[in-house]
Symmetry: C4
């Protein structure tokens, strides 16, 4: 039923603000090296929560507004005949189903995160704006679902397992693969993805100096109940830089 | 009283040289990656020591002369109606109060310094021009003041604690946060901030090779009583490169 | 006899698609820092397997279609009078002789690989698309052939030793020197060379965090019997970026 | 006597080829990050060995042919009234006196070399073209001469000590300071400086993987008695890139 409502509402109303932010997210994350040729970014429709917007299968660095299409939460394109689709878009649908608070999702192969994907050392917050990492980013091992494939998330069962590993967090690492970051908005998701990457570099370097003082439980708890100050300042700078290059 | 004098002198006389150097400092430190979207730079007025100049709240990479405003040492803008102000500008006022010799202040999240912020390993001078680091940069832990916030320096008590941790040094690290560098001029402050960042990278790399031979006490003492040779040579090169990009 | 056939077929028919991909490979690998001034890239002729195409001796970043010449598998140029030839082109001929499945070869000094060239630690796959590294890239030590030279591969005996060390793999490291990556197409060879470089960086960083979970045997075996999904997406992005810079 | 001859020959004959290479050396080494605002490069006059050419005191990235002046081996400018001179130019004169085979000298603060300047771990050759590092680059400690200064080489005694530490090698590291690379030509000196920097990064990374297999004594000895193959290929690429940026 909500699907019917959504199908009525979405196709005619691509929210220009959301599309603009989604294009910017693709460019910003590419410009930061957080997205390579194969990552993908989506945003849940703000009036029709059973749908999300995502680019056709292409390098995120090259995405324009004309490349954005709508899918339902079973990852079926709303418009018939769409064929250039990301194989792994099932990640997006299953996370939106499992997490009603999530409005944006990115799957990437963020280079600083890969070492933590394949390690027992947890990625933990080094600085205040990384408090969203909490007690440490969970790592999803696809072998907990099946052990027959190429490590890509291609089935509903795999994506559901990934969503379970994510739980109520904002970042989950994928063993031998990459990461998924989510946010309550496109801009928050972009912050999470960029901050996770820089935090990983800080933690790796700090490990060379000896024991690391991570954020305290109290600091993590504070961040969970408060808002960041002026988060759009970074967004505007990042966007200006990313769009200038293209 | 001195405030009255200052209020009379400052508003009409934004020193063009100081403003030009302050804009250049914003650009140079951004160009070096020492400033991200959230750092801020200030300079004490040269004729009215109870006032300082700082940009409105914005990414330092985008600062122009028109964005610079004057504040008193209680961080109140001289001109009524200024609303786009840095939350953490209290850092600047309290340091200028505590350190009459300081003429410029930067607060940043310099990436090479973060590992040292969260470590018991002290940042120590690897090369002659880093002698200002002395026996090692102090680390300010905001929990020595209170443990209720998001690690940002938002209150006078926190900023006073930070100024005490800085003491008579030129750089203080902030656990889980970043750093504050100061100088007896804008250009010296910029040197301190850039050299601290590169010194951190050198020290981190050297730690991989085994025990490190830091500057000796005698070398640190010599640097304290002498002047660097031709410091403006680097300033001119840095400025030329930073301004060309904008 | 096959040489006669080939000599008849090749000189008049430089396959424009192959030449275009070979120029792009030179540029892409230079743009990624995988090729410096001294590496070289070749592709086997698709209709005349006893010949390969390679640029004249020059920095790969500057190669254009006009610089590409044909050689037989004894590394003799087809056209008389060619003098600007790579000293180490013997690598290409001997690998094409030993590996009929190989259609493209690059010899480089990929910076991330050098540490593994001089170590007993094997380069092993961190992520799915690096599964081609298998149980670990072999290291060729030129001293197993002779110990009289400058580590360059200049003789048939040295190149045959290198081809033996490569065996049925896609990458071989050369102690104190660099690497050779091969592929069943130019584009696959480029992928191998770029992924090897990034995988090396991931592995090095992960080593700082503790024991590393590499791909499992089952995951490596799966990759061996399957095709990558949409490999040309990265190729197009890389090519667009590399050609724009020149 | 030779000085008289030289004074007669030099002032009127700035060798255009040498000047062109010297300007390019300044730009190339800046472009590689091997020279910062404070390094300096010189070349011995090819017909008058008692003189050398060097830029006025300025950032090497900005040097043009008009900035190059001649000095005698006591570092006195040939033309009266030159005042913008490098404080540390005594390095050049003393090395040219001690090493008749040396035709070019660079003093830099090459970032990858600093960790080795302050360590007991020796910089040793990882790859064939770094064989000039021999059994390991010597480290000059200025305290072996005196312990009263800022680590800069300002006196003849200090520069003579540095030249003794260099001995018959091509690179000497300066504790807490940087490096001096020399060559039998400008181009060889540039190669030495760039290769030393990259070799340092390779060695640092390899140290993370375990014991390192450096070049063997036999390989080092071979390199000492042979010539590199086509060294100008890198020079041309480096020059083209460096000059395009300015």
């Amino acid at each position: 039923m909500s699907t019917n409502l959504a199908e009525a509402a979405v196709p005619g109303t691509p929210d220009p603000e959301l599309i603009d932010d989604l294009v910017a997210a693709n460019r910003i994350l590419s410009d930061h090296g957080v997205l390579d040729a194969y990552g993908h970014v989506s945003a849940r429709d703000r009036t029709s929560p059973q749908h999300y917007w995502i680019s056709r299968s292409m390098p995120p660095a090259q995405v324009t507004a004309a490349d954005i299409i709508a899918c339902d939460l079973d990852n079926k394109p709303l418009r018939a005949g769409e064929t250039r689709l990301f194989f792994e878009r099932v990640i997006h649908g299953e996370i939106y189903k499992a997490r009603p608070d999530v409005m944006a999702v990115v799957h990437n192969h963020s280079p600083g995160l890969i070492p933590f994907c394949n390690s027992d050392t947890r990625l933990r917050p080094m600085v205040g704006n990384a408090a969203f990492l909490g007690e440490g980013a969970p790592v999803f091992d696809i072998r907990t679902i099946d052990d027959e494939g190429d490590l890509n998330i291609c089935t509903v069962a795999q994506a559901q397992g990934l969503a379970r590993a994510l739980g109520s967090q904002w970042l989950v690492l994928l063993r031998g693969h990459g990461a998924v970051a989510v946010g309550n908005s496109i801009r928050q998701m972009v912050r999470h993805a960029i901050i996770a990457e820089t935090n990983a570099r800080y933690q790796l370097q700090a490990a060379l100096l000896g024991p690391i003082h991570f954020l305290t439980d109290s600091e993590i708890a504070f961040a969970r109940r408060s808002q960041p100050k002026d988060p759009d300042r970074a967004w505007r700078l990042w966007k200006e830089r990313a769009m200038r290059k293209s």
